[in-house]
């Protein structure tokens, strides 16, 4: 049936692919197969990305003129709130771990599934319920609190039903994230293929492990905070509302105790993808494996102690500020270690500029800017003027959109043949990658300048002095949207017309590439024998159709 795939398989009859195993909505919606759950996540997070993207385009259009006018101020405020909430809670946080991670993790471990398949399905449905609640927020008129939900504004009676639904959505979606973290950590501990030690794990799994730790420790705090806000709003407990004796800055501490580590929930898996792709497409073992693995853990640990840098001008003590500033700057070190190890991996390699690698190269530049501009915000003297300006908006979009989205697209293009069994058109995909890169930079570079010039964020209208920066940014947003549309279109088109994917189209060495594309329901026909995730010796390229196969050492020419 799939002759191309068969050529690369181990001996024996090919098993039915997971896509063909059970048909109809029930076989998908109630599946315990991690691959199908991953695909369902992928569909929903893509819808969330589209929704959040449309909000962003309306925001940018409103900013075409200093006086706004396309939408009212109130509508603008609701749109930026939902743009942030949808993008963060429904796209960036679950994007790489829940969609790609779910699909890839058991395959890379050489396992049949995650440790707790039923919990995994529960995670998906909690996420779906959370997403539905966010859509319900729209249906009751929206909220205009910003995704940060700062009281007292967010908990005033005037915010209506929307804020209660939003808090409930955050609470429910949070549990989805916690359960995914538990599942991944348990899987990595218990389900590694025979002979696979901790330092034989692909770095993507180290990244997911570090992410899981943050998900388990930090996300409950978000849930508790949402519950406290809910209670404060309904029963006036006086936790955060000064009117009833509460402290609004306490909310900020709780919120950022989760939401800053959440940035690392977003970026660590992205870095994991980069580690995989840069090694495979340089055809060289990753440089400094242990240093990259340990830097993931270091980022996860330090990331818990930097939340106060969001509150440098909130009135908290200057000595507290000094401590948070220093710890924040320390995050630069593991990030630098990773970056230099990636670059060293390319040194003397045989760099293949396939689409995933093109996205990774663009990741280097974008993450470079995103990370380095973080220094301005970690340093107190420069943070004070830049805090809550467009400089911050540009910085976190470079990290969360630029770097994470670019790595997500790299990962999606990397594992797409494995997920769907189809190859996409390289030309179109690379063009899309270039457009995404250009559009992204044209959108967000001007925002650094607007921020330095003093334009605050969350402004529906602005002083005419900022006109040029805003116009450039709006134009860029549409180029970015075009690039994203093209990338998505190219992938979807491959489902119809793409060539059949071989088991190992890229010559990668981790275990997911030893099983057919798409994999059978049980993942592997026989218990796989790990070779080391970056051991490319013996991998020979046969043809486009047959991909790469591992030639036993004695048979190698």
């Amino acid at each position: 049936m799939i002759p191309a795939a068969r050529a690369a398989e181990p001996a024996g009859a090919p098993a039915e692919s997971y896509l063909a195993h059970g048909r109809g909505p029930r076989a998908w919606l109630l599946t315990l197969d991690h691959k199908r759950i991953g695909v369902m996540y992928l569909v929903v997070i893509t819808l969330a990305l589209l929704l959040g993207g449309v909000f962003a385009l309306v925001l940018r259009l409103n900013l075409w003129r200093p006086g706004g006018g396309l939408v009212s101020n109130d509508t603008y405020n609701k749109l930026f709130t939902l743009h942030g909430a949808v993008m963060i809670f429904l796209f960036v946080i679950p994007g790489i771990p829940a969609a790609l991670g779910n699909f890839v993790l058991p395959l890379q471990l050489g396992a049949k599934d995650v440790a707790f398949p039923r919990v995994n399905l529960l995670s998906f449905w909690l996420y779906a319920i959370g997403a539905t609640l966010f859509v319900a927020v729209l249906a009751v008129g929206g909220v205009d609190t910003g995704w940060t939900l700062y009281p007292p504004y967010s908990l005033e009676d005037a915010r209506g039903l929307g804020i209660l639904l939003a808090l409930a959505a955050v609470f429910v979606a949070g549990f989805s994230s916690i359960l995914t973290g538990v599942n991944f950590i348990a899987s990595i501990h218990r389900l590694r293929a025979p002979g696979m030690g901790w330092f034989d794990l692909p770095l993507f799994l180290w990244a997911l492990y570090a992410t899981g730790v943050i998900q388990i420790i930090a996300t409950p705090v978000l849930g508790i905070t949402a519950a406290m806000g809910f209670m404060d709003r309904l029963f006036h407990l006086g936790l955060f509302m000064p009117e009833y004796g509460g402290d609004p800055v306490l909310f900020q501490h709780f919120f950022w105790f989760y939401s800053h580590p959440a940035v690392y929930i977003m970026i660590l898996p992205a870095m994991g993808i980069v580690s995989e792709v840069v090694s495979v497409f340089s055809r060289k073992p990753i440089f400094g494996y242990r240093y990259i693995a340990m830097s993931s853990i270091a980022i996860a640990v330090i990331g818990f102690f930097v939340w106060g840098h969001h509150m440098f001008v909130s009135g908290q003590s200057r000595w507290t500020n000094l401590v948070f500033s220093f710890l924040t700057l320390l995050v630069a070190i593991p990030s630098a270690i990773k970056t230099f190890n990636w670059l060293a991996t390319m040194y003397k390699g045989a760099i293949d500029l396939r689409t995933p690698m093109v996205y990774v190269l663009s990741f280097f530049a974008i993450f470079g800017v995103g990370g380095l501009t973080g220094l301005f915000l970690g340093a107190l003297a420069t943070d004070v003027p830049l805090h809550d300006t467009y400089f911050v908006v540009a910085h976190f979009h470079f990290v969360m959109v630029g770097a994470v989205l670019t790595a997500f697209l790299a990962g999606l293009h990397y594992w797409w043949p494995k997920m769907t069994g189809r190859m996409y058109g390289e030309g179109m995909a690379r063009l899309a990658a270039a457009l995404v890169f250009v559009g992204f930079n044209v959108t967000f570079v001007p925002q650094f300048f607007a921020g330095v010039a003093g334009m605050p964020r969350r402004y529906a209208t602005y002083a005419p002095a900022f006109l040029g920066w805003n116009r450039a940014s709006t134009v860029g947003a549409f180029v970015l949207a075009l690039g994203m549309g093209l990338a998505l279109g190219g992938l979807l088109a491959s489902l119809r017309s793409g060539r059949r994917a071989p088991a190992n189209p890229w010559g990668a060495a981790s275990l997911e590439w030893t099983t057919p594309s798409p994999p059978p329901h049980e993942n592997f026909e026989a218990t796989p024998r790990p070779t080391g995730p970056y051991d490319f010796t013996g991998l020979r390229r046969v043809s486009d159709e047959a991909g790469w196969i591992r030639v036993p050492a004695e048979a190698a020419p």
């Binding site: 909130s314 270690i337 230099f340 220094l375 301005f376 003297a381 805090h387 010039a453 605050p456």
Partner: protein, 322 residues
Amino acid sequence: MIGALHRTALAAAGFMPERASSVAAGVDRVFLFVLWLSAFFFALIVALTVLFVLRYRRRPSRAEPEPSPSHDARLELFWTAVPLALVFVLFGVSTRTYLRMVEPEPGRDPLRIQVMARRWSWWFDHPGGRGAPELHVVRGRPAELVLASADVIHSLYVPDFRLKQDAVPGRFTRMAFTPVLAGTFPIVCAEYCGTDHSRMAARVVVHPDQASFDAWANEGAAPAASLVDLGRTVFASKGCAGCHSVDGSPRVGPSFKNLWGRQEKLAGGGTARVDEDYVRESILRPSAKVVEGFANVMPPVPLEERELQGVIAYLQSLGEAP
């Protein structure tokens, strides 16, 4: 060459606001230091990426990588130690400037101004009693602002001063600066506060000298509605005078004569300095800090933010601690 580039960048940074406070130039120096540091590392990353892609691109003549080590502890140590050292330098440079940004310049009598933020406007009560929707200060004279909010969190941001401070309901926050340029500069709100957040603007007027400020402060209507008067009215109407004298004579509660800045000995140990936050707490939650030798009998007196500001101004008018 770096020096020349640096001066060019400083001059050409036309998109930067004026440097109108005594700390602005220092902030910009830190900014440019980080900028060059970042530019160097960014250039390094991009240059290595481009170089490696050009040299090591896979092509028919180069199907396989060249042998090279897969790790090198000395290299790892190098690119850990260099960023770590730079982090220390950056932290030091930034912190030195920051500590000057949060204290009024020592040695001179600061201009004390009470700020009230509310949706979507600012109100500034100046010494001498004049209130205005704009902030008036004097070039070269330190100013100390005490910020309050009547509703939600706002943030007073003066880009030309490179300073920003949140106004948080339920507490007072402080901001200190010394203007160095006369003129007017925009004030904007930097913390999201609802519908007209983007229109919550005001301006700072920096008078060239004290005389100009005094002329402004004394012009127009008599300061009948000054904060001190409001405070005196609250003091009389809420029954405070029943227990607190203003002439130093002892009553049920401590006298308010020369109260401001006093170190009070507390029942149960410890001391507290009488400042804005202490006064707020003592009115809203009197039993939190009871002065030694007095009974814990005062009931909480719920006051609005504006009334609190008034009482504070009135107490300040009764003299400072020696």
